[in-house]
Symmetry: C2
Subunit: 289 residues, 2 copies
Amino acid sequence: MRFDIAYDGTQFKGWARQPGLRTVQGVLEDALARVAGSAVRLTVAGRTDSGVHATGQVAHADLTPDQWERVTRRRRIDKPREHAGAEADRDPASVLAHRATGVLGPYSDVTVTRTSTAPDSFDARFSAAWRRYEYRIADQTAGYDPLQRLRTTRVRGRLDADTMDRAARGLIGLHDFAAYCKPRPGATTIRTLLEFDWRRDERGLLIANVRADAFCHSMVRALVGACVAVGEGRLAPGDLEVLRDELVRTSSFKVQEARGLTLTDVGYPAEEQLAARAEQTRNRRDRES
Amino acid sequence: MRFDIAYDGTQFKGWARQPGLRTVQGVLEDALARVAGSAVRLTVAGRTDSGVHATGQVAHADLTPDQWERVTRRRRIDKPREHAGAEADRDPASVLAHRATGVLGPYSDVTVTRTSTAPDSFDARFSAAWRRYEYRIADQTAGYDPLQRLRTTRVRGRLDADTMDRAARGLIGLHDFAAYCKPRPGATTIRTLLEFDWRRDERGLLIANVRADAFCHSMVRALVGACVAVGEGRLAPGDLEVLRDELVRTSSFKVQEARGLTLTDVGYPAEEQLAARAEQTRNRRDRES
C-alpha cells in the first residue's frame, strides 16, 4: 500500500516517531491504527527534519487481511451518511485516505492525500530514484505574503538571483558533498545532485529547486545557505565548488532554517525496475536517505 | 500616501479598529504611530470581516510634515546597520513600509508590502473603481494542502465546477443583490458584479474569482454559498438568478465561512479621474463599501 502525504512541518518535531514528541510518523500511524484497528508501520521516502514541510511525501505500509476487513466493513456502515455518489467511483485502496482524513480532521496540519495499491516490490524508501525539495526565500525585493509565512524564510537586503542560480548549477553532478552535510559515523556523503537552480516567481519570491538521488543530513539547507552567501556578495559563485572539493564543513555560510524547506516530489522507476532499484540502493548505501 | 497591505485574517477580528479586540487597522495604526511618532489614521478600500484575508488591500493616510521629518531622520540614524545598498535606490515614501516591517517583525500576520506617494485626490475607499476577491475550496477531488489550510475551505463530497461556473456567470451585471446581502438600514444593495467565475487549479482546488464595483456585507460569501449548493446538486444553476430577483434572503444556501476568502486586488482609475470617481461614489452610495 502506497501513501501520498502532505504536511505543514511547523508544529512537528520532524518525521521519525520519538517518545513524547509530536512527529508526523507518530500522528499518522496513530490515525491509521484507529482506522485499521491495530498498529500500522510506515516506511517513508524522506525522513524530514523538525520544521520541514512536505507536499509530496511518500510512504508504504503492508496491511494484514484483518486490517483490510476492518477498513472495508467500516466503509459499508458509514455509507448512508456520505453525500450520494461520493464513494461510488472510489477503489477500496483510496478509502483508507478518506478514513484517515476523518480521524485527523478537515484542517489538520498533516494529511494523507492519496492511498493506492502498490506492487509487492515497492519500497517507498529504497525504491526511490530521487527526491525533490523546494526552498522559498522572501528578500527585500519580494512581496512578503503573510499567508505563506509558514513556509517562507525572510532574508534582509536584496539577493542577486542570477548569481545564486549560477553558483547552484555549478554544484550539479556526482560528488562527495561532505562539506554540505552534517557528518554521521560510517555514512557516505557521496550523492548525485541532479538539479539545483534558483528563480524568482511572479511575486518576486526566490525559489530553489533541488533534486538528487538522495540527500544526507541538512544537505539542502547547507546548499541553500551557501547560495544565500553568494546572493549577498559574501562568496563568489565559483567558491561553492572549491568549498565542496575541500570536503570539510566551513563557517563561511550558515545552514538555513527549516521554515523555507518543502519536500515536493519523490520519483520512482517503472514497476519492473522497483525491486532492482531497491536492491541496488540497499547495497550501495547505508540506511541514511 | 498609499499603503499596499497583506494579511492572514485568521487571528484578526476583521479590519475595523474595535476597543479591546485585535484588528488589522488597530495593529497597523499602532505600528505606524511608533514609526511616525504620533497617530496615523488609515482609510481602507475594503473593510474585511473577521477571518477574511488580503493579499492586495489598499489604504491611504496623510502624514504631517513633523511625521515625515521623523521617518526621514530615523532613516539616517539606522543606515549604518543596514546591508550596504539596501536603501540606496529606495524613494523616501517606501522607507515607511520598511520601518513598519521592522516594528511588526519579519513573520507578522500583517504587513505593509509597499508605501508610495499618491495624488492629493487619491482616496483609497472612494476612488476605488472595483474590488476583486478569491474564494478557495478543497472538495474530495482536490489534493488538500495543509500549507494552504488557513485560506482554504474544505467541503465534503465532490462539487461540479462546470455547473458552478455557469451559475456564477449568470449573476453578472448591475442588479439589486439584496438576496445575497446582510441588510443594513438605509444602505443600498445595488451593485455591479463585473466578473464571477469558477475554475480548478493544477491541484484540483476550486477557485472563485469575484469582481464588483463594491460589495455589500457578506455578499461574496453568500454568492459562494449559493454556488456550492449548485455544485452539490441541491440548486440548479438558473435558480441563483431567480433567487436574486426575489430580492429577499433565503435559507436554500448558506453563507460560506471566512476562511476561504481573500481580497486580492483593488482597481483605481487613472490619476486625472481619481477625484471625479470619489465624488461620484460619495454621491451615489452610502458609506458602505
